[in-house]
């Protein structure tokens, strides 16, 4: 999933302050799963904003709506009348959702309520970890299913740096050394030879370095 966390409420207050009517638009997919932008979070934020504006003796009308996915035009349409009724949309979606809205509603103000963080998983209840950088060129097969590009703080491809101690990374004693995990797992799989192989410099052209990327499926284009 794409994970995100809500912006500090005071930053959100500053964002919505210029508007009289604001639609808080939740997204029912990834950010709902990581407790930052689903229906529940929309309700809490709406309530907190109402309280905060009342306290400031300021008037604001807040409408709440959560759609299935903000990154798909089909679902976005469900929000069109709500968006039309309001002066601004505060989107509780990832950056893709915010931009998808902005693309669809050219004349409407779309504001981000979340900080998009990473592609990750819920490792244990309430703890989300980053697993993939979307580099566009997956090498998980040789690394035993553990990504050094994402999970090594130095993106090392040819083994751990000198800062790996007792299984943890030098940058944070709570972060597992990805290379330690890779070595453990490849040992279990009997594939340690993978690590004797020299890994050449990575081609970053398929990642963000190549500029914004595009995925084209010719068979779906009419």
């Amino acid at each position: 999933m794409i994970t995100a966390s809500q912006k500090p409420i005071n930053e959100i207050i500053e964002l919505v302050e210029p508007y009289k009517k604001v639609l808080i638009l939740g997204c029912g997919t990834c950010v709902k799963t990581c407790f930052s932008g689903g229906e529940d979070e929309v309700a809490v934020l709406a309530s907190a904003l109402r309280l905060s504006f009342k306290k400031m003796v300021r008037s604001i009308e807040i409408e709440e709506l959560t759609i299935e996915r903000q990154c798909e035009n089909e679902f976005i349409q469900e929000a069109s009348s709500g968006i039309a009724r309001n002066d601004a949309v505060l989107s509780l979606a990832c950056g893709a959702g915010v931009q998808a809205l902005a693309k669809q509603f050219l004349k409407e103000v779309v504001l981000p309520g979340l900080n998009t963080t990473f592609i990750g998983i819920q490792e244990s209840p309430g703890i989300f970890t980053e697993e993939c950088s979307g580099c566009g060129n997956c090498s998980l097969a040789i690394f035993g299913g553990i990504c050094p590009v994402t999970r090594c703080a130095k993106k090392l491809l040819n083994g751990p740096c000198g800062g790996s101690q007792k299984g943890f990374c030098e940058i944070d004693p709570d972060t597992h050394c990805a290379w330690h995990l890779i070595i453990e797992r490849l040992t279990t799989l009997g594939q340690m030879d993978n690590l004797k192989t020299y890994i050449p410099p990575k081609n970053w052209n398929t990642s963000l370095s190549g500029g914004p990327r595009k995925l084209i499926r010719e068979d779906h284009i009419i």
Binding site: L156, G159, P160, C161, G162, Q165, M192, L195, Y198, P201
Partner: protein, 302 residues
Amino acid sequence: MKTFSHLHENLLQGKFVVTGECGPPRGANKAVIDKKISLLKGYVDAVNVTDNQTAIVRMSSIAASAHLVAAGLEPVMQMVVRDRNRIAIQSDIMGAYSLGIRNILCLSGDHQKFGSQPDAMNVFDIDSVNLVRTVRDMREKGKDMSGFVLDVAPQMFIGAAANPFADPFEYRVIRLAKKIDAGVDFIQTQCIYNIDRFKEWIKRANDEGLTERVYILGGVTPLRSAGMARYMNNKVAGMDVPSDIIKRMDGIGKKNQADEGIKICLETIEVLKELTGVHGVHIMAIEWEEAVAKIVEQAGLK
């Protein structure tokens, strides 16, 4: 055989070499470099010039190395892959060579999180193994990474680091082999305080025949105080200062702790001199260059 630097020449002749370290200043003051040069010259075969070590912004290692060249002291220019992409790396290697720099030490670099500007974006376009290979390919094939044939290709003596004290221990020798395969000529190790673990590592390297393919310089850092010993053990990534060393420093009066630190350092060097597979010592007297002359003289390495 072609020799790439004086350091290389000395190692080829079978001399037990000594390298020192010079950390460039946090500023543009060349006088700081000059002072360190005067303290080290005549005592060491070459001097590592660090590259924004611990991710604290300093005078560039290329510029500081060039100052050493001009003063007749051979530098080992350190280069980290943290701050440069492959374009800048290759360009800097060419520039360094044109300035008379003949040794390079290829490193990943300390993570910027601990540095003076943790908000910085890191690069890590290529890793240190690929940096070694890049310098090697320039030297052996005369080409840059794109395969472009260089007019004058840098001919550098190539070093890398090894940390026998980092985990997972089993992988440390594999990683050494990988660096050797990539084309490294010499290795400087992390500071040795845990001599038993170092012996185990060098034994494994000997068993694998690695020490015949690469020169290994054991790293030592004289401890200035018990506090420093504790700090290095607890705060410096990848450092292993055993508790008996800390105890030994603790047992000495504050005034004499620095002397004790030098004594420990000399004892370590004595052990290193006798070890098969160790070809020299790398003395990292961090902001304590005065200690180097003393250590070199007392260890009989001058």
